[in-house]
Subunit: 175 residues, 2 copies
């Protein structure tokens, strides 16, 4: 085995992408994600996962921003995004576009993320690092999913949780 | 829907964990992961995924370390780990224990991570942020897997890549 670099790597990834187009239209809505490093990380994985759009709401910092740009490898220049102060307004608009709204949150009716069948148009909603998705936002969502925790901690980092679920949706059932 | 907090959340997660024990024995080997924030993030997700052990090798910084501890939420006190300078020595020892060694790397014979059937005892190997898994380490591995990239970027962050694959192994085929 040898690592691929340069043009070989570029060709390898391009061919894979051409032959394996994602079946889902994915959007992610950030409901007051506070830390710029998390927002940057989300831009990077959103690019990787071929997300259609990021919707930044509430106190979520927006590009251009030195930390978002550095951690996010300037993917805010590639991934379509917009800012809407009120998450409920953004959710209503996405629902009108046909998106199924899936909150990533430990809620009383939440199901394990890997047991849910994600509709073709899915928007994942993640919340604040400490406070999560608010009651008001949860009430506007169609579904809540959670990530099982097999150790001592009660949660994963917000950008890690989102990354796991985005890649799960892209590849679930494809073996 | 309402968010779960405090003892309700604790009970919810504990019950889930009891009824859904992971089927795999998982280990992760860090081959010169340089940044303490990545090592901390890996400790946090290793706890979440119920990883048996982290093996830190080469220039990988080790706990206790202010950044590893903070980002990792002190999970280095919960997740078993050890340091072994030489990754090849650590790989040989893990193979002797029956672990299948899976490098996370864009290599010429790498397969998409979601198409591989991971043996019950699996060790994932991740490499340096810029240089990845070295040729010498790759040569000692049984398999290489890669994460498809559907945007412009060529890679995900090392702790994000590891997180996606760990959670994939835990839940693949379980719906």
């Amino acid at each position: 085995m040898k690592p691929l670099i340069g043009t070989e790597l570029k060709r390898f990834l391009r061919n894979y992408k051409r032959e394996n187009r994602p079946a889902h239209d994915l959007v992610a809505l950030l409901q007051s994600v506070e830390y710029p490093a998390n927002v940057g990380s989300i831009f990077r994985v959103a690019d990787g996962a071929g997300v259609n759009e990021l919707v930044l709401t509430g106190i979520t910092p927006t590009p251009p921003h030195p930390t978002i740009d550095k951690v996010g490898r300037f993917k805010s220049l590639k991934v379509p995004w917009r800012y809407e102060k009120n998450p409920l307004k953004a959710i209503a608009a996405l629902k009108a576009e046909g998106y199924h709204m899936v909150a990533v949150e430990m809620a009383d009716t939440a199901v394990p993320y890997h047991t849910f069948t994600y509709p073709q148009k899915t928007c994942l909603i993640v919340g604040h690092e400490d406070h999560g998705v608010t009651k008001a936002t949860l009430a506007a969502c169609d579904t809540a999913v959670f990530l099982p925790m097999y150790g001592r901690g009660r949660s994963l980092n917000v950008h890690v949780a989102l990354s796991i679920i985005l890649y799960h949706i892209l590849h679930a059932g494809k073996t």
